[in-house]
């Protein structure tokens, strides 16, 4: 019974999101353009090493396709925190952290689902060399899909941690912007993490932001061995549990001592 509330939150939010199909189109074209600039640049830089370049291009496209998932799309939570309406939400007989978490998951999944096909079609217009490569093989694709879901969950936790902070500071610009930027940089959106120098590779793959999209993309391109996959998946799950715990703790502490502003 308890879980009914969360599945409902998920369903309602998912239906909401499908309404913004028109608005998505402009964003998609912009995203493809930015991807194109990066791919063209890396093409020149790689200077004809074909294999490496195609992998980089694929990495760039996957990052662009899932780009929207990084952001907290839930403007309602921030509005509630700023206006004090969060007090009403607290009256609901549900666990607030789970409630907002499932809403956020629904938003991310639907937003992305609406963008995948148009983005894939648009990049088909490009010369073949610049296109996205298919996954390495079928197991790689399954690993990728599974890992992507975990990645989304971790992003939701990070977004909710930001919300928890802004609940305390009542400022949704400063620190949230900072965390978002760090996320862009360290998650592989600004530059593919595979292009980071080899001596930094281990470090860069261990840090939490690499678990969002970098880990799934590496699985998409095929892991060297089942052992490597296991290690990567375990690392991802580990970070999920850790951040989930941190986020829950921050939320419950916040709700205990929340002061609602205004009347």
């Amino acid at each position: 019974m308890r879980y009914r509330a969360y599945t409902t939150a998920f369903r309602v939010e998912a239906r909401q999101q499908t309404r913004y199909r028109g608005a998505a189109m402009g964003g998609i074209v912009t995203q493809v353009f930015f991807g194109l600039i990066l791919v063209a640049l890396y093409d020149t830089l790689s200077g004809g090493t074909d294999e490496g370049f195609r992998r980089t291009a694929t990495y760039v496209w996957l990052q662009q396709i899932f780009f929207r998932a990084y952001f907290n799309l839930d403007s309602e939570l921030n509005d509630q925190v700023m206006t004090g309406n969060v007090a009403y939400s607290m009256l609901r007989p549900v666990d607030l952290h789970s409630w907002w978490f499932w809403r956020a998951m629904a938003q991310k999944i639907i937003t992305i689902a609406m963008r995948i096909l148009p983005m894939l079609l648009l990049q088909l217009l490009l010369p073949e060399r610049w296109r996205l490569l298919p996954p390495a093989d079928i197991p790689a694709f399954v690993q990728f899909a599974f890992s992507l879901l975990i990645g989304f969950m971790i992003i939701c936790q990070i977004n909710l941690i930001c919300s928890a902070i802004s609940m305390r500071t009542l400022d949704n610009k400063g620190i949230t912007a900072m965390i978002n930027l760090l996320m862009m940089i360290l998650a592989g959106n600004i530059i593919p993490l595979t292009l980071v120098p080899d001596r930094l590779q281990t470090l860069i793959r261990l840090q939490p932001f690499a678990q969002l999209l970098d880990a799934p993309i590496r699985m998409y391109q095929g892991m060297a061995s089942p052992g490597e996959w296991l290690a990567a998946a375990a690392l991802q799950l580990g970070w999920l549990v850790l951040l989930w715990g941190l986020c829950r703790w921050m939320w419950s502490r916040n709700l205990l001592r929340i002061e609602v502003q205004g009347g």
Binding site: G26, I37, L41, T44, K173
Partner: protein, 263 residues
């Protein structure tokens, strides 16, 4: 001019009201540019050089572009929010004031936070200058200043174009970002690193490279690929003010047929 100083003081004072948040936002601005800088350094470490450009020359181009862009953003923040100021009716209030419309829109939100990014740009250029050992002459300084001023005009023109589009469609259109932010993204590296259609787009259609990079390459004493005759170099940046003038006309046209959204 008095109005301008006044507006600047007001904006500074407003920002100072929320000091922590203000500092935080300056920091996040720096992190954002820092992310691009980091990406550039990673690429240089992996590839050594970019096309026929050495790392220190790339750094100079990078600094120049980011400096120009942050100066533009400092002036034009009001244009960035133009869509919402039409929707909220704030623009209607401006129409009733006895000051020039464009001045009001531009200065309504003069943004002192950009000093952070400006500092990054200037530092990058200074470091690059030291590494290359540029011998500054009066002519080089003048050429650089002229071309950077002209590029600020050009970028302002682009943001103005974006605002005028708001007159015709109340939702601001994300795709214009391709020209503004896309221009920054593309032209932080010399434009001759890109394939022809991108190079032509940002040289002749949206003449960022014409205004900024061709003169800069002359200051560095290294011609761009597909160069421009020396005699024309001083004329190139004229494209910037020219573009701005054209967009101002377009703006006047837009204002004349503007109808309030009500509310």
């Amino acid at each position: 001019m008095r109005y301008m100083m006044n507006a600047m003081r007001m904006n500074l004072r407003r920002a100072a009201q929320y000091r922590a948040s203000f500092l935080m936002q300056i920091c996040s601005q720096i992190v954002m540019t820092g992310g691009d800088l980091w990406a550039m350094l990673m690429l240089l470490e992996r590839y050594g050089r970019m096309g026929h450009w050495e790392g220190r020359e790339i750094l100079f181009f990078f600094g120049a572009m980011h400096l120009v862009f942050s100066v533009t953003e400092m002036i034009n923040r009001g244009l960035g929010h133009f869509g919402s100021s039409i929707r909220s009716g704030a623009f209607d209030t401006m129409l009733t004031r006895p000051r020039r419309l464009l001045t009001q829109v531009l200065l309504s939100e003069l943004d002192p936070r950009r000093v952070g990014t400006m500092a990054v740009g200037i530092t990058a250029m200074a470091v690059a200058t030291a590494l290359i050992g540029i011998e500054w002459t009066v002519w080089k300084v003048l050429l650089l200043l002229w071309s950077m001023t002209a590029t600020v005009c050009l970028m302002l023109g682009l943001f103005l174009l974006e605002a005028v589009i708001c007159f015709f469609s109340v939702q601001s259109i994300e795709m214009v970002n391709i020209l503004t932010y896309g221009g920054r993204q593309t032209c932080q590296y010399p434009v001759d690193l890109y394939p022809d259609f991108i190079r032509i787009l940002f040289t002749y259609v949206v003449p960022v490279a014409l205004c900024l990079q061709y003169p800069v390459s002359r200051v560095l004493g290294r011609p761009m690929a597909a160069g421009i005759p020396d005699g024309l170099l001083w004329l190139c940046p004229l494209a910037g003010p020219g573009f701005l003038a054209l967009m101002t006309l377009f703006w006047c046209f837009g204002v004349r047929r503007y109808r309030s959204t009500g509310s």
